[in-house]
């Protein structure tokens, strides 16, 4: 059987990025993707930050299937009877190199896989890697059904449920508390309707995040992103608390769609897609070992994903880790040394990049974000304060500060707010 320089398992952002770099550098690369085509079964919210991809494929937005450029970010605190939002727009975000991109995975992954093929790698879609091959205690290739494919190095980019990282002895099972469940619908609407409803022109796009009643107070949040001719609407909820509360994410999504803030935005739309997927969310605390002899683990499979509550950055972390893994493989090839020691260079590269630095900066975020008050109390508090400020009830007005104080006192205590703020300062 032919021996490949590198085999990549998984055709998501991490796998495609690493295969692309290695193939461009002249390695003989084989990428396996179990979906009928890359992107076939993949999902995400869809707001993507571009610098890493721009480094990999300069000015990628000129050819990649970008739905819209994010020019408007909204953060909305959803309360029982209304909502309080922060609405940010930037004219600087509408010009190259842009900042955020709204993308749909079926198209985006397909495009990435095509770039990988053009770079000279073989993309074998519809093929699931079932097992790893071992030789002298180190990974020496992969097994697909009965077929064996030997290689110098295997890059594991098989996503959040990476069975292969477990087989390689790099990680143990993830716990429900370390996971978030994502559910999403793609809702089709005419382009003009979207632009009117979200106050957009041309390729401008909006990324809206929701915190509060949309998850019934469970840790997590909602999102709504504008595609060209559709909206991506979804929820992300911590799996452990979902299980404990016996709630189903799909039911909560249905409820979310009926919230008055949402129902008017999606009115008349047609749901064309429903999907669900897990997100690793405990950051460094759940990060597996990143390297062993003959194998590296990247992207979601390595839990390299940043969730600060305001933003979820997964795809750019996946791309950056895929690129670092490729770099490690190229250096190992140069030395012809694929031992665990040689491949430990990968972790060093990640430490030098934003990947492990950001995860370190925000290492307190996962624990902080489990605080239920963020989802149950504060959206209500904000709502009551602004309601009191804006409401005219025919009585003499109180000073704003007085209003705030009274509401806080009724709802909670100043001490717990100060303590939460203090924790927030350190965590995010």
């Amino acid at each position: 059987m032919e021996r490949f320089d590198a085999i990549v398992v998984g055709g998501g952002p991490a796998g495609c990025a690493s295969a692309y770099v290695m193939a461009k550098a002249g390695l003989n690369v084989l990428l396996f993707e179990r979906g009928k085509f890359a992107g076939a079964k993949n999902m995400w919210g869809g707001a993507f930050f571009g610098p890493q991809l721009n480094e990999l494929i300069p000015e990628f937005w000129k050819e990649a299937p970008v739905e819209r450029f994010v020019t408007r970010h909204v953060l909305s605190f959803m309360a029982e009877n209304g909502s309080t939002s922060l609405d940010f727009k930037s004219t600087r975000f509408c010009a190259a190199p842009y900042n955020g991109f709204i993308l749909l995975r079926a198209k985006f992954d397909g495009w990435m896989a095509q770039k990988v093929e053009q770079a000279g790698a073989i993309v074998a879609a519809g093929m699931r890697v079932d097992d790893l091959l071992f030789q002298e205690g180190r990974v020496s290739g992969v097994k697909v059904g009965d077929e064996e494919f030997p290689s110098d190095i295997v890059i594991l980019a098989d996503g959040v449920n990476s069975l292969l990282a477990k087989k390689a002895g790099l990680r143990s099972d993830f716990l429900p508390e370390d996971m978030k469940q994502g559910v999403k619908e793609v809702i089709e609407l005419p382009r003009e309707t979207i632009e009117q409803r979200f106050n957009l022109v041309n390729d401008e796009g909006a990324a809206i995040e929701f915190v509060g009643t949309c998850t019934r107070g469970l840790p997590g949040g909602g999102f709504l992103y504008t595609n060209k001719n559709s909206l991506s609407l979804g929820l992300v909820i911590e799996l452990g608390s979902l299980v404990k509360s016996k709630l189903k994410a799909s039911d909560l999504l249905e409820e979310f769609k009926h919230h008055p803030d949402i129902s008017r935005l999606i009115e008349g739309g047609r749901t064309v897609e429903y999907s669900a997927h897990l997100i690793p969310c405990s950051g460094l605390a759940m990060m597996p070992k990143l390297a062993t002899g003959g194998a590296l683990v990247t992207g979601d499979a390595a839990a390299l994903l940043l969730g600060t509550g305001l933003i979820l950055e997964g795809a750019n972390f996946a791309i950056a880790s895929g690129m670092a893994a490729a770099q490690t493989a190229l250096e190992a090839k140069e030395k012809n040394d694929f031992s665990a020691g040689s491949l430990s260079r990968y972790e060093q590269l990640l430490k030098e990049s934003f990947v492990l630095q950001d995860l370190n900066t925000f290492r307190g975020a996962p624990a902080f974000l489990k605080n239920r008050r963020i989802y149950e109390l504060y959206p209500e508090l904000a709502f009551e304060i602004f309601e009191a400020i804006f409401q005219s009830d025919g009585m003499p007005r109180k000073g704003t500060l007085q209003v705030v104080k009274e509401i806080i006192k009724r709802r909670t205590s100043m001490i717990s707010i100060v303590s939460d703020l203090w924790k927030a300062r350190k965590a995010i």
Binding site: M1, P65, A124, G126, M127
Partner: protein
Amino acid sequence: MNMIVCVKQVPDPEVPPAKFRIDAKTKQVMPPEGIPPVINPFDERALELALRLKDAYGGKITVLTMGSAKSESVVKRGISMGADDGFVLSDPSFQDSDSFGTAHILAAAIQKIGNYDLILCGRQASDWDEGVVGSIIAENLSLPFIALALAIEAADKALKVKRVTTDGYQVFSVPVPAMVTVCWDVGRPRLPSGSGVIMAARKKIPVWSAADIGVDAGQVGKGAARKEAAELSRREWARKCEIIQAETPDEAGTKLAEKLREVGAF
């Protein structure tokens, strides 16, 4: 046995119909963006039958598709399953050919390949479902034709072709070369192997133009079509629920039967 299998690239039939749009102007079905077209599932079965013959008797399988340069993917699919060779037929003049045009183009390429014992087609293409291209190829090449074959045995310069009828089977004996379309009941086509996919990925698939296969542009394409699509519409399914009120099951049954007769269900 030298075989040529005609395969068509079609929009993925596994995509739910609700996701397709109809373009009223071009009278085309528009698949959702980002979902790549696939090999016609009926043609995958024709390939499977060809592969079984190759397994049994040896020989060579050539895969042929008429479409755009992007149709290469269905030829590669055939090669990854075990076919040996393949060609894409693509030319601006081929566009919007009807079944006669399509068959004319395929027949010209088949003649260029030459030296064949058997040509196989699917029973129909899953996008337009006309099921006639195979028979027109047979006519163009003056070949014996058998539709809906289930199995084929080779017997000394002849083929024994078993075909399905409503209540049973028929076996025909035909001399080679012959043209045969293959029925669905052949069973699940084999999946490509990993090494097959690697081989297919590396294979260069030649694209033949009208000039390459000696097709006169006047005989194909929209201009030569013998019919014109006038309308394309989706079958609308309406759902209605009505609860029948009754005191006893007997009464409910009677009322239900009356209601069904009233709406013309029987």
